[in-house]
């Protein structure tokens, strides 16, 4: 077993930018562990443009953005161990499976930048047949951009989060026709302008208020989907189904290894410094709450690097209180407060599960201390002001959303 100062798990935007920043701060005993055989994370297979504008002031495609990150890491002498899968976290020791056998490390500090995945068909309990032609956007991107394989000819896209348009672009790249986009909600789950672009430029029908009833087919082949809209059932012929969005953190190893797991965020509870209750562990990027844009993960990586720097320098005793949230809130940050660290004016960031008007309240021991009126869209983050709230140990804070 090796002692190292800093271990970063995941060589995506958050992990690499944290490593770059830590390197700048003078840390050299640092390893990034990556399970894939190349660095770069999810952007590696997002074949379309739209990356790098904020961090590199250039418009890059996902793969070029990933290459840029990877290049920066190697130019700065950062040690990235590829093909290293974290299989266990126990008593501060990290165990990895690698092609050269089992490796163990005991870091002074660990950053979990594990990324996220889309919710597949199974976890949505969708009725119907099973088939290898029922996939997620992530799988479609990997088929079309990484392996140059076209798995089917005509697909139905389920969900209309921003990522579903990435599915459209991947499909276009591979020459796959899209029969329709199906959305359960009354409006699409991203900016309305996109709806018109899809409808009129790409000529793809966007069917809202429609529930996916069944995936039809025999013998592991998809023949159509049945949707339910306005009290009627309708079949749409297709030979593939793409489930998009509903991102969740790659957090199973966290849930297995730590007690303090947050079920709204599906990740570990973290303080305003991204520090967990197991103090030498930090979490950042999509591992904290599902999908954010790559540049947000990149900047969060920089932030957490500074917090890790402080932690290693000062090792101050933290004083933690917990923040809970109701079920309307799909994710929120932070979920812990360290009273020994500064608390910013706009501390809480959150998103709601559904499009809604109402108020978000911060309750301190059951008493409302802050309130904000919102017209929330599920894909936009909301910042909640904290003003001058006096806090002490044993206080209980809760976030609630009350619909109009």
């Amino acid at each position: 077993m090796d002692n190292i100062q800093i271990a970063i798990i995941g060589a995506g935007p958050a992990g690499i930018s944290a490593a770059l920043e830590l390197k700048k701060l003078g840390y050299s005993d640092l390893i990034i562990f990556e399970r894939e055989d190349e660095a770069g994370g999810t952007p590696r297979h997002c074949g379309h443009l739209g990356f790098g504008m904020f961090e590199f002031k250039r418009v890059l495609s996902g793969p070029n953005y990933a290459k840029k990150l990877s290049k920066l890491a190697s130019q700065n002498g950062i040690n990235i161990q590829l093909k290293s899968t974290l299989t266990k976290i126990e008593d501060g020791v990290l165990t990895f499976s690698t092609p050269n056998g089992i490796k163990q490390y005991k870091p002074t500090c660990t950053l979990l930048a594990l990324g996220a995945r889309e919710t597949p068909r199974s976890d949505r309990l969708v009725s119907g047949t099973r088939s290898p032609d029922i996939i997620t956007t992530g799988a479609l991107q990997r088929f079309t951009y990484l392996q140059e394989i076209k798995p089917f000819d005509k697909a139905v896209v389920i969900g209309s989060e921003i990522v579903s348009f990435s599915a459209l672009m991947s499909a276009k790249h591979a020459g796959i026709k899209i029969a329709a986009i199906i959305e359960e909600k009354s409006e699409i789950d991203s900016f309305c302008v996109i709806k018109y672009l899809v409808k009129y430029l790409l000529n793809i029908p966007v069917i809202t208020n429609a529930k996916l009833k069944n995936i039809n087919g025999e013998d592991k082949k998809v023949s159509s989907v049945t949707i339910f809209k306005d009290g009627k059932e309708e079949d749409i012929a297709c030979d593939g189904v793409i489930f998009t969005g509903k991102f969740i953190p790659e957090s199973s190893i966290m849930q297995k290894s730590f007690k303090d797991f947050n079920l709204n965020n599906y990740s570990l509870n973290v303080t305003q410094n991204f520090q967990t209750n197991s103090e030498s562990f930090f979490v950042a990027g999509n591992a904290l709450r599902g999908a954010l844009a790559a540049f947000r993960c990149y900047f969060e990586g920089k932030k957490v690097a500074k917090n890790i720097h402080d932690y290693i320098r000062f090792k101050h005793q933290s004083q933690i209180i917990e923040i809970s949230a109701d079920e309307n809130i799909s994710w929120y940050y932070p979920s812990l407060l360290d009273l020994k660290s500064p608390i910013k004016k706009h501390l809480t960031t959150l998103r709601l599960k559904n499009r809604a008007k109402g108020v978000i309240k911060i309750l301190l021991n059951g008493r409302v201390v802050s309130i904000k009126r919102v017209h929330a869209l599920p894909f936009l983050s909301i910042n909640i002001p904290w003003k001058d709230i006096e806090l002490k140990v044993d206080d209980k804070i809760r976030l609630e959303f009350v619909k109009d």
């Binding site: 399970r35 055989d37 093909k83 899968t85 299989t87 499976s97 092609p99 050269n100 056998g101 089992i102 995945r117 889309e118 597949p120 068909r121 199974s122 976890d123 309990l125 969708v126 009725s127 119907g128 047949t129 099973r130 088939s131 290898p132 032609d133 996939i135 997620t136 992530g138 799988a139 990997r142 088929f143 079309t144 990484l146 392996q147 140059e148 394989i149 076209k150 798995p151 089917f152 000819d153 790249h173 591979a174 020459g175 069944n214 025999e218 013998d219 592991k220 082949k221 969740i248 199973s252 849930q255 297995k256 797991f261 079920l263 599906y266």
Partner: protein
């Protein structure tokens, strides 16, 4: 861009014997029962062929079950089912180490959730003891919760069945197949038996590929058991496929229970089981839904929701865990189970039909029983004692990713290696489709369901098939 049909990624298998080859025995159906019979007859020295309509083993009833090795504590007393379960259990214990098959003795609790069920526990205990299962005891409410602290407080009491255990439902039949092949047995996948003619000495079976000639036919055709059986001339039973839907929870839930949690059975069904699996998950199911179709294994949202609700009642902490997979299996139920095991001596035809949920445990015992029914002396195969192993894919022993030189891990959720995927593509007992690849490796069976690896695995398989024919 290259279009790849994911359902036809693997080439159709052909047989490696000539049309003039004559077999002692033709086993129809390569489910768990068929493969166990194949192994038994090959070891005993009979010249045997295994005929299967699909391109791989376990494509029918045997692919979806709860993967429990049963003691037979609740089997109908003094029946063939009872005998075969216990014989099968003993036999499995004999071969498991040699074949590298996993086994975890978790024990089972038959839990009573109300007073009415509590009253039935005594009868369950007595029946078990009567069935020769000695290691049984009754536990009080307090004892149940001590053993299973995460169970709902409504648990009134339970019968603890010490012998109930977990096995890998896919590797065991694969090991049986490989053993049969090693002993010289032949296979004919993608050969659907369409008709047959008996000339008083030999059966000539007409298949979707070439005809196959054998002295004796053993029908282990599972969901198609009645159709194949009619070939002998009489229609003795009807298969009524019984669908069982399952929900699999993520590995994060694995430690919520220690034992298999069984319900007190009702007249209609054995009820919903909660158990760990050999692959590190929690399984909830099955349902019992009779249907006409032999192929429709669709899941239904409402049923899956209902399974979740039932499981959350019994094991409230399960709520905090995600669903990894959902699936449905079809059991080949018939009007009378196990009575469908019979021999027609005039026609040299043996039927092993209507073997339902206990088939996984009973298969090895049933194979012995059928060999006795067959009542023919052969010269024991010299290779019968040869050691045949299958790769371990369970969580109960070290897996390939713990051994050096595996290339890289391809399926991250289930930690499946490139080497495992490649190996599963090869040979007579290699995968015949993506489902078969999944059952041999666990690839794409985890929480992301292929988000990360389906494309890469497709590519690896395609290359392997191209390069190795």
């Amino acid at each position: 861009m290259e279009h790849i049909d994911l359902n036809n990624l693997f080439p159709t298998k052909t047989s490696n014997f000539g049309t003039n080859e004559v077999f002692d025995v033709a086993v129809v159906g390569a489910g768990v029962v068929g493969t166990a019979i194949f192994k038994e007859f090959c070891e005993q020295g009979a010249k045997t062929v295994l005929i299967e309509r699909a391109n791989d083993i376990l494509e029918g009833a045997s692919k979806g079950n709860s993967a429990i090795l049963h003691t037979g504590y609740d089997a109908p007393p003094d029946t063939l089912e009872h005998e075969c379960i216990q014989r099968g259990y003993t036999e499995y214990m004999k071969i498991k180490d040699e074949m590298n098959l996993p086994f975890l003795n978790t024990k089972a609790l038959v839990v009573a959730w109300n007073d009415e069920q509590l009253e039935k526990l005594d009868a369950i205990l007595k029946k078990g003891l009567g069935n020769g299962v000695k290691e049984l005891e009754t536990l009080s409410h307090k004892q149940v919760l001590k053993r299973e602290p995460n169970l709902c407080l409504d648990a009134k009491g339970a019968v603890l069945v010490h012998g109930e255990s977990l096995i890998d439902p896919w590797s065991a039949p694969l090991a049986y197949l490989k053993k049969g092949i090693a002993c010289g047995g032949k296979t004919a996948f993608s050969h659907e038996v369409k008709a047959g003619h008996y000339d008083g000495k030999y059966w000539e079976l007409e298949t979707s590929q070439k005809p196959i000639k054998a002295k004796v036919v053993i029908n282990a055709a599972g969901l198609y058991g009645d159709i194949v059986d009619a070939i002998k001339g009489t229609k003795d039973f009807k298969i009524i496929p019984r669908k069982g839907q399952f929900v699999i929870f993520d590995e994060t839930a694995y430690n919520l229970i220690n034992s298999i949690i069984l319900p007190v059975p009702t007249k209609r069904t054995k009820g919903v089981v909660i158990t760990k699996t050999a692959f590190g998950n929690i399984l909830v199911g099955p349902t019992a839904e009779d249907q006409e179709s032999r192929t429709d294994s669709q899941t239904l949202r409402e049923t899956l929701e209902d399974l979740k609700t039932k499981a959350f009642y019994m094991l409230p902490a399960l709520r905090n865990h995600r669903v990894t997979a959902t699936f449905a299996g079809l059991r080949p139920a018939s009007d009378e189970t196990y009575d469908r095991v019979s021999i027609n001596e005039d026609k040299n035809w043996i039927t092993a039909g209507g073997i339902r949920s206990t088939g996984l445990t009973a298969s090895l015992g049933l194979a012995k029983h059928i060999f006795e029914l067959h009542n023919t002396k052969y010269e024991k195969n010299p290779k019968a004692d040869e050691k045949i192993t299958v790769p371990n894919i369970s969580e109960f022993a070290p897996r390939d990713n713990q051994k050096e030189g595996y290339g890289k891990i391809i399926c991250h959720c289930e930690c499946v290696t490139e080497r495992e995927i490649k190996n599963a593509c090869h040979g007579e007992s290699g995968a015949g489709n993506i489902g078969g690849l999944k059952r041999r490796t666990r690839a794409m069976m985890g929480r992301c369901q292929g988000f990360n690896c389906e494309a890469a695995i497709t590519k690896i398989c395609e290359d392997e098939i191209k390069n190795h024919g």
